[in-house]
Symmetry: C2
Subunit: 352 residues, 2 copies
């Protein structure tokens, strides 16, 4: 399969982007943790029970359980090559934990906006992943999938606390809603630490996507609800939405300030980033993400034109080590990855 | 006048380069210091005497004194805008000192391979400036011009020491022969200090072109004869040629070694340099020269193709502050120069 064809097929809905979408929010995710009442949580279940759960869900799916979602597919982890699993994780369709297991599975709809992990930490992890900032829409979609399962399976549920989950931090709604934000303006203007501290005081959590510790590669941050117990889903979504909109408007103001302070320096920075991405023969993932962030900022500020709105998301995903190995269909040394990453990014640039 | 047309006219012969030329040697210069017997050296002459010398030479030139050189022009410094003078200096056609004087002049042939400064430190400074390593050819050309003056003017000359010059370091042959070498290989391999020390022991001088102190911008070094007294011109040229050839072969070996040690890293470095030059919106002269050096190395090693062989020389000259001001026909702030430099370099890239 040619690279172009491969990449065509490899794009999830969240990666394709949307020209009307907000330039700060990259994607929104809502996931619901659910468990079947008749079985122990996956961590405490014996292999035969895990197998039974998977068989049960698969039969249900086979007989049209998810038909309202259109075409869907079932991927059994144990039948899937390791590289393929890790690539799914880098597209945020499964967790790295599931990728490492030798049991469990995932159900995906056609545009990969819906994924349901089976026998990860909980029996079911229902996820809706959409481009831009769409907490409400993602909640509606996840909820629709939840209803389909709920109609056929008995959920572990208590009238006092709500949904029962393996980890206490998920008990109640079982919901984690998050928005991935691209915050180069607040980073360059130095305001980010203050903004992050303020957010965390209102029960909203922020962490850098990718990268370790406080270092956020690609200036990407995930904003999500901290509390799952004692709050209604709609209120959580509403609170997340409010905070997200606030950060987005602060980011936009920061971008204007940074651009006004020294527009030529910012243009120069953006164009140099573009020049390196388009010409380097070796690129580490961290570098690729740093320059991809500049590229996205440059597109948002109309400094760069004619690039597709999904390029940034593609750079984020395809820059990751496993994905490269999947694309090039072989194991790669770190140096080999840097080389293939640079090759791939030059190709992406030509296609866009 | 359009930029393209301007640049077309602005190219001296040494800048155009030559595909057959050596990839290490950029240009060769031979200059002869001469004085007229009947006048004090310029530094000790009164204005009326300086004026008389200039008038005499100009009349001689007007009546065909330099006819064998083809079309030539006479530029009187006092009639020339300051910016124009400095631009001539950046093309190495006159010295920065002459550019600052309010008297004196320069005679140029059509391809600017011959220039004769009048009333700089000496009455006459005859220069031949050729692309690549051509000490013998440059000496022949300078000598031919010297003969034309010699036939019409009485030179200050002593049978004991040879030509008399203002500065004792020029007495004898009055000759300074030099080759500009591009030494990125020896720089990257760390061998340069040793090579330079060895050269200086055999009466050949090395200094960084551009830049101050030991820092050589663009990895450019000028190799020249130290001694003018007690040696025949042919012997000086021969010695310079021998040393130059030796350094060139050491540089070529060093490039091979650097390329073999990690070819991908070198390709990456070259291409990133290209990416920045082709996309930056602000470039300092030092950066432009650093990347220009990588570009030239990349062209020599066939990593980059389709660029004209003179691009490196053009980048060196057109990157200099005065030249930019001349091209854009106005005084520029340092920041304005960085901006115009980046604009110009992107244009040069498109034309090449």
């Amino acid at each position: 399969m040619g690279l172009e064809k491969f990449l065509e097929q490899a794009r999830s809905r969240w990666m394709v982007g949307d020209d009307s979408a907000d330039s700060v929010a990259v994607s929104t995710r809502v996931r619901l943790a659910r468990n079947l009442a008749d079985y122990p949580f996956p961590g405490r279940a014996i292999p035969a029970q895990l197998e039974e759960i998977e068989q049960k869900i698969r039969r249900w799916w086979n007989t049209g359980g998810l038909k309202p979602l259109g075409p869907t597919k079932y991927i059994a982890i144990k039948d899937t090559a390791k590289i393929e699993r890790l690539a799914l994780a880098e597209k945020h369709l499964i967790s790295p934990e599931l990728a490492r297991q030798n049991f469990g599975g995932v159900l995906l709809n056609e545009d990969e906006s819906v994924s349901v992990m089976i026998n990860e930490e909980d029996h079911l992890r229902i996820q809706s992943l959409l481009p831009g900032s769409q907490p409400q829409e993602a909640w509606v979609q996840a909820s629709q999938v939840d209803d389909l399962f709920d109609a056929s399976f008995g959920y572990a549920w208590s009238s006092q606390t709500g949904y029962l989950t393996c980890c206490p931090t998920n008990v109640g709604t079982g919901m984690r809603a998050s928005v991935m934000l691209h915050l180069p303006g607040l980073t360059f203007s130095g305001q980010l630490p203050l903004v992050l501290r303020t957010i965390s005081k209102v029960g909203i959590m922020v962490r850098g996507m990718f990268g370790e510790g406080s270092e956020a590669l690609g200036n990407l941050y995930q904003v999500s609800n901290q509390i799952t117990l004692g709050q209604k889903e709609e209120d959580i979504i509403e609170a997340l939405n409010r905070v997200t909109e606030q950060v987005i408007s602060q980011e936009k103001e920061a971008r204007q300030r940074v651009a006004q302070a020294d527009e030529m320096a910012l243009r120069d920075k953006v164009w140099r980033g573009y020049g390196v991405l388009a010409n380097a023969r070796l690129l580490t993932a961290a570098e690729a993400m740093e320059y991809a962030s500049l590229l996205r900022l440059g597109m948002d500020l109309n400094y760069l034109e004619g690039l597709s709105s999904g390029l940034f998301q593609e750079l984020l995903v395809f820059s990751q080590p496993r994905y490269l190995q999947k694309i090039f269909e072989r194991a790669l040394s770190p140096r080999g990855r840097d080389e293939k990453r640079a090759d791939l990014i030059r190709e992406l640039g030509k296609m866009n």
